[in-house]
Symmetry: C2
Subunit: 555 residues, 2 copies
């Protein structure tokens, strides 16, 4: 048995959908040379991460081994794969490899943060490869819901790994490369040690549908709509954006791009030569002079994002344009779990305007970008790996994907984030557990998910706050204690103002407090906190958060 | 034209799913005698209502007219119809009418709040009626996902109204009354002025399925499972609970009720004589001595509620029982939009234990309790009303239901919450707009949604807090200003402790501040707030919430 390890270590993505970050290593234990695949983000919500801007994998383990990192590879330009490059690169400092469109998007992120864009290297597709340390890596085109998605073919002295990235099996993907059976046969001919494989859609029982299948339904829908049309989808799904734009053009409508991401992605698509036949567009300003039945707006915000174009239009005039009775809004998208309420809010706002909203309920106007269960089997069978390693999915997806591998007669290993697996031998061996977690971009600062900062904010949101101030002179209160409240009802069950009840209870406590208590900040604070929490519980049924400020005048 | 109005006024439920509260009035404008149909709640979430306990309709309009309220009718015992009776009754003080099972649940709520349970009157079903003021009201049984759901047949001098409540068209409902075409023919024979009709499932294109259709699939699933089974559904869906219990019994399993609502609902079902053939159950304590493959747990928490039995089991031992590899969890339920993340969390936790989770993905183990689009048409055609008034739904549902009415050749009126419609004439007339809204039960206090209390808590959750204290003596700072932070990173971009940077900036400001500023609390506070928000923005990229305490020693 070789003393050299072939390490697979997910730091993000194997335990959630989003936040992808995978490490491969080759070499003696503890001295492996490393490559990183993807540096993605996931998005915060009020439930668990109020006020947080972005979430990504805790890369402390990697940072401590930065000198061993040969390179970073980005499979495609979705935020959950590329979103953290600008934020994390300074802590890793390895060169980044990506295909043209992905590199374009990554460079925009470097530009925003003032990093050296030369660190991002554009590479061609398989059979072209990059040699870096013990790794030889090629980008094998796959179809997905963004241009130039790629699987990575990672050759090591211990064998070949295929890391699928996100993919679907699409023979007619509209933009970009189709699923290429011959290429996969050729790649797998010499034997593949491990297929590290997308798991997000493992619970979808039917074979996935092609991007080209939405063209005719969307053409018909647009042709049969009367007033202004606003259509929304992920801007990065350039194939879909093109389909929508061309449906508009065909129906004699002028196309208007609304929202920064929409303009940015179409520009990136055109600049990188990915789309050559995009209809010409007009600006929102010029759209004002076009009859509304001749307009086709392509808008950001298919997930109900409050500040995106779709939401803005649902609230009234936006960039001079306003939806009205007889107009149509098309959601050419699936609502990601967790976003249902935001999307419903927008749909209801349009409903109040008399605008018809068409969504994907009937399955006509959207297809997924991920491989469904039968498509995963197609990949298993095309690659014929020694081991299947499910990645990108919640635990339930990874576990189900292991079951699917077994159905297909393949061995597999369930390796959630932090599980270091040695793939060198005949069977995968779990060789270490790395402490993993999440890092938050909170405003401009990176903080750990367990730092307690966000937990404190959640407590404030649930319980409200009482601030109490007391001045102590010579171990005796100087005057009365003062209270202020935030996020608590003005009056409690006694009907008296809550602040007055709090102050009365605290002053009564202070008058009776022992000199020993008054002399000891910690003890005084603890006792005052107890009084406040009891009073708020009695008055408003909540144990409020408490901030006590003690000012001592005696020196 | 009559000077008498027949008023329909929704205060809750016509603009959301949940929080049902409808008012009917008959009499001269402004002097109508009133009845109330349903006093329901809706549930809070972190997104918009952190820390809130329950949400219900603002009944200020009703309260101001309490002397004109003849009675309150409750259609069925779901929380979104009966949940607020205990909280709101003291403000209305009218007698409450409900069928036996509903009255049982309502009395439990009265008991909790110490109200007079005699105010809740149990009534029989149509053709029995209650005469109250100008109204004659009968409870016409409908099928739904809780026993004894009823439509109300409301006779007035201006004609008959059918208020469906929540309903489905089910000929074999397992528990309770089936959809009774003959009864509806008889009710509609003399002509129905208005059908006020459930709209929640208007977007579901296929006819609804019967509660009895899940029996065989669930029997088969339970028969084929090996280890312990935990099955969850809404406890109030007694038909489903019975189906699950009997599937367990059939497979030789002992049935265990886990969770307060599960015990409460089964008890209510047995006490009111609704279910006579419920299998005998054993306590969780006794279950410990039964082999796990002979256990069938029926658990609360199908929506992922953190403190319910299902979530407890997903976190480890609960009441002495613990799920393990080889066990099965069955979600015989649909996840309500907004609860996806909570349910996924539980499913993943079970996945980590090696427990198989079966949900309704395949459509086998759950059916909806609401009328789908074709079922709504069935009701339209059975009742043949002069006017359809869509109720219970978001705006988009109400609007779509109006379209469906038009398809069926019926006139309709879109009346969201607060829209007073006079139904007396040939066509409905909007006669007033009432200011409506939401009331929150926040701890033990009822507050208005727009009181700002919750908004302040949301701000604290998003932005964090800085508390600054300064003592002023003779219009000059006495010593330094002090700061404390909550929910903000300890260190900002300058790497120095945030509190120290804040104090340095504030003290610098105070030293330079004009005496005029120092002498004026408002001005001083405003200026300090400005300094703090600028500093937190520079250091951590957030404009924090600010609480400033100024103590003046000079008299």
């Amino acid at each position: 048995m070789s003393i050299e390890r072939l390490l697979y270590l997910p730091l993000g993505g194997a335990g959630e959908i989003g936040m992808n970050c995978y490490v491969y290593g080759y070499g003696p234990a503890g001295q492996e040379r490393l490559i990183v695949v993807d540096l993605g983000v996931t998005f915060p919500d009020m439930d668990g991460t109020p006020g947080v801007d972005l979430i990504f994998a805790d890369i402390e383990w990697l940072e401590a081994r930065a000198d061993r990192i040969e390179a970073i590879f980005i499979t495609h330009a979705h935020e959950d794969h590329v979103g953290a490059v600008g934020l994390l690169w300074p802590r890793l400092k390895a060169p980044i490899y990506a295909r043209k469109f992905t590199a374009h998007i990554a460079r925009l992120k470097f530009e925003e943060r003032g990093h050296d864009e030369m660190q991002i290297k554009t590479v061609g597709v398989w059979p072209e490869t990059i040699q870096t340390g013990p790794f030889t890596v090629g980008f094998a085109p796959v179809s997905h819901s963004i241009p130039e998605s790629s699987a990575l073919v990672i050759d090591t002295p211990a064998g070949r790994i295929v890391h699928t990235g996100d993919f679907k099996v699409d023979e007619t993907p509209v933009v970009g490369e189709k699923f290429d059976r011959e290429m996969w046969e050729e790649i797998s001919k010499a034997g593949v040690k491990a297929l590290v494989c997308d798991s997000t859609n493992v619970f979808s029982p039917h074979a996935g549908r092609s991007e080209s299948e939405v063209i005719e339904p969307l053409n018909a829908l647009v042709a049969n709509s009367r007033g202004m049309i606003a259509a929304t989808t992920f801007a990065s799904n350039i194939a879909r954006v093109r389909t929508l734009a061309r449906a508009g053009e065909k129906a004699g409508r002028s196309v208007v791009l609304m929202g920064r991401a929409m303009r940015r992605m179409v520009t990136a698509g055109i600049e990188t030569g990915i789309i050559e036949d995009f209809p010409s567009t007009i600006s929102p300003e010029d759209a004002g002079s076009v009859p509304r039945e001749n307009l086709m707006l392509l808008t950001t915000g298919s997930q109900g994002e409050r500040r995106a174009a779709t939401a803005q239009l649902s609230r009234g005039k936006y960039l001079g344009l306003k939806m009205q009775e007889g107009d149509t809004v098309i959601f050419s998208s699936k609502t990601i779990p967790g976003n249902e309420m935001s999307v419903a809010r927008i749909v209801n706002a349009f409903s109040e305007m008399g605008v018809d909203v068409i969504d994907d309920r009937g399955g006509l106007y959207h297809v997924s970008g991920h491989a469904n269960r039968p498509d995963l089997s197609t990949m298993h069978k095309a690659v014929k790996p020694q081991i299947v390693v499910p990645m990108h999915g919640e635990h339930r997806h990874l576990r189900e994907h292991c079951k699917l591998a077994a159905e297909n007669g393949l061995q597999s290993v369930l390796a959630p984030n932090g599980t270091g697996v040695d793939l060198a031998g005949e069977t995968p061996k779990v060789v270490e557990f790395v402490e993993t977690g999440r890092t938050y971009l909170d405003g401009s600062v990176q903080i750990g998910a367990l730092d307690g900062v966000v937990r404190d904010r959640i407590r404030l949101a649930l319980n409200g706050l009482v601030v109490a101030t007391i001045i102590i002179e010579d171990d005796a209160p100087l005057g009365d204690c003062w209270c202020e409240t935030m996020g608590l009802p003005a009056n409690g069950t006694s009907r008296a103002p809550l602040v007055e009840v709090l102050e009365a209870d605290l002053n009564q406590f202070l008058q009776r407090a022992a000199r020993k208590t008054l002399a000891d900040d910690d003890k005084l604070e603890e006792e005052m906190r107890r009084v406040i929490r009891r009073t708020t519980n009695d008055e408003v049924g909540k144990k409020a958060e408490v901030q006590i400020v003690i000012s001592r005048l005696s020196e």
